[in-house]
């Protein structure tokens, strides 16, 4: 165990010192700032529509709708409602950042030949890989904590914009505990993505192809959800060739990391799908956790098998 901890410390040192991780964290933080700013812009838009009947782009908005929309935005911009805005960043953009970090971090071990430098010192390949995943996972946890702190500060600003002041008395211990629990679930939901991108790094043995593989799969699962909605939404009624093909794999959406991460992190209350997917989507957090664990095991197993069977010639 002591050797594994030392490996974990070695990997943590590398992750902490590489610029890429910090750049990705800053990008997520910037996305959070943009998101908060957009909330305020939308609120101003609806506020204006209540008086003039039109929004920013001259679109006509019924004053009653604008009033309701602004009220909802004010709720989201003030505490405790703003706490939930963090999940927009960690839920959608988070996996992209995680995949980029893990794919490059692993692929570069081969590309730069550093895997040789480490493996000739005798660590077990299993221990090395699992320590690497664990170090990445801890780094993501630290990033999620920093994003939560940023959320607290941004909430002070959005509250002030929405109501002219900050009222923290509405945030009870229950809110904070629920927030912490969801933060933990959101963090744990990144584990299969880390395992997948790391496996992609081992399979591809280079950062570029690993990144393409990792991001390609992430886009595929996101599109797998939205494409069906569009097909259904545009009244294609599952009749065209594309729709027929789609019908073959759309049911599998229930097993994607995307859907199960969403179910798990929201504890069975994934945010609404505007249209139904032709998939037996479930909302069981327990099942979601099991599926996420199964994906993690599949990717870790594939990575370890490849790591053991292939010569290290990078």
């Amino acid at each position: 165990m002591g050797d594994w901890i030392a490996l974990l410390r070695a990997e943590s040192l590398k992750i902490g010192r590489r610029r890429l991780g910090w750049i990705l964290l800053l990008a997520l933080m910037a996305a959070f700032v943009v998101h908060a700013r957009n909330l305020n812009t939308d609120r101003l838009d609806y506020h204006q529509a209540q008086e003039s009947g039109s929004g920013r782009f001259g679109q006509w908005i019924m004053p009653e709708s604008a009033l309701a929309a602004e009220a909802e935005l004010v709720r989201r911009m003030t505490f405790p409602g703003f706490l939930d805005e963090l999940w927009v960043i960690t839920g959608f953009w988070g996996p992209f950042a995680v995949v980029i970090l893990a794919a490059i971090h692993m692929g570069e071990e081969y590309e730069g030949g550093t895997i040789r430098t480490l493996m000739v010192r005798g660590p077990s390949r299993n221990a090395w890989f699992t320590a690497k995943i664990a170090a990445l996972f801890l780094a993501v946890g630290a990033a999620w904590l920093l994003l939560a702190l940023e959320g607290g500060l941004l909430g002070l600003w959005t509250s002030r914009q929405a109501t002219g002041g900050v009222n923290l008395s509405a945030v009870g211990t229950g809110h904070l505990l629920a927030h912490a629990a969801r933060l933990l679930r959101s963090w744990s939901a990144t584990l299969p993505y880390l395992a997948f991108a790391s496996a992609a790094g081992i399979l591809a043995r280079a950062a570029g192809p690993a990144l393409a593989l990792g991001l390609g799969a992430r886009f595929a699962e996101v599109i797998s959800g939205t494409a069906g909605q569009f097909l259904v939404g545009f009244g294609m009624g599952m009749e065209g060739l594309g729709a027929k093909i789609y019908r073959l794999w759309a049911p599998l959406h229930v097993a994607t990391m995307e859907w199960n991460a969403r179910v798990w992190s929201t504890w069975g209350a994934p945010y609404d799908l505007p249209l139904e997917l032709p998939s037996p989507l479930h909302t069981s957090p327990g099942l979601a956790a099991l599926i996420l664990l199964a994906w993690t095991a599949v990717w870790v197993g594939l990575a370890l098998r490849t790591l053991h069977r292939r010569d290290i010639t990078g």
Binding site: D3, K14, T117, V120, R121, G122, I312
Partner: protein, 308 residues
């Protein structure tokens, strides 16, 4: 195992597709010596080292490193070994010191205390804080050697460790390796193209070509076997001298080169040559003891092999 060989291979082979990179390699590396592993580019040196270090799996045959069988995993043996393979590979965004810290942690963490002494030992004491990406090739080689020394290994396996080093660096490395063997009883397995260096530092060599060992032995014995005596004579005396010398039992062969005769004989026999010729009234213009180099031997062997 205390006095036995530190590396043993039996019919070790590796095939990459249709290319047989290493072909039935059998050798032993004795403890407490510097062992030179020589061969032209593509001869199979690095593949052999990669197999010994567990990076590449042999297609056939087996090997032992510090008594541990390759097929049963080398973890324990590798922790007692220091190694460099191919060009130095470290994390460009980390300093030299942090790169060694990573390696020390992979070794289990105890080696962290040796980082600064090792940086001093390889001449990077003042540059340990600089990022690896700004290092020159020579500094990268020094860092690779430092990483290999971190665990105070019993066995050092070094793949072209002096590539990119300046002459002073090469000499320092040579001195360091020799001292480790002579004073601390360690073993060094060294692959190199720099035959002059190998001749100066190695006790024993193996020469590999096309994946096969074509010669091995102690350096001093190889060189002694190839030493000769050169006799320069007047043209009218050449035939007679050749006949006379050929009849001597201690002369292994005579080759005529212009007005010179090259004798395959122990150089200590120069005096006997002078006496034999003098007693027949032949007086050489010059009598020279010709020493051979490892480079001559290597080129002769690999050249023959390449063309034969």
């Amino acid at each position: 195992m205390a006095g036995g060989p530190v590396v043993r291979t039996w019919e070790l082979s590796k095939r990459f597709g249709s290319t047989l990179a290493v072909d039935g390699l059998t050798m032993e590396v004795p403890r407490g010596e510097v062992f030179g592993f020589l061969g032209p580019n593509g001869a199979g040196k690095t593949t052999t080292i990669a197999m010994l270090l567990g990076l590449v799996r042999p297609t056939a045959g087996s090997a032992e490193l510090l008594g541990q069988d390759l097929r049963r995993g080398l973890g324990h043996a590798l922790r007692r070994t220091g190694a460099t393979i191919e060009s130095p590979a470290f994390y460009p965004y980390l300093s030299g010191r942090d790169n060694l810290r990573v390696v020390a942690r992979v070794l289990g963490g105890a080696a962290e205390a040796r980082i600064d002494p090792v940086l001093e030992q390889v001449g990077l004491g003042l540059r340990g804080g600089d990022k690896f990406k700004v290092y020159s090739m020579g500094m990268k080689q020094r860092l690779a050697l430092g990483a290999a020394l971190l665990n105070d290994p019993e066995l050092l396996i070094l793949d072209e460790p002096t590539n990119g080093l300046d002459p002073a660096g090469i000499q320092e490395t040579r001195t360091l390796l020799r001292r480790m063997v002579d004073e601390q009883g360690k073993t060094v397995f060294l692959s190199s193209h720099l035959l002059h260096e190998v001749q100066q530092v190695c006790d024993r060599v193996a020469i590999i070509d096309h994946g096969r060992i074509i010669a091995q032995g102690r350096v001093d014995e190889i060189l002694r076997r190839r030493e000769s005596i050169e006799v320069e004579l007047g043209e009218d005396e050449l035939d007679r001298a050749e006949t006379l010398l050929c009849s001597q039992p201690w002369v292994k062969g005579v080759v005529r080169e212009g007005n010179r005769l090259r004798l395959g004989a122990d150089p200590q026999a120069s005096r006997q040559v002078a006496e034999v010729l003098g007693s027949a009234g032949i007086f050489p213009c010059q009598l020279t003891r010709v020493s051979s180099t490892l480079e001559d031997f290597f080129l002769e062997l690999t050249g023959k092999n390449n063309h034969g």
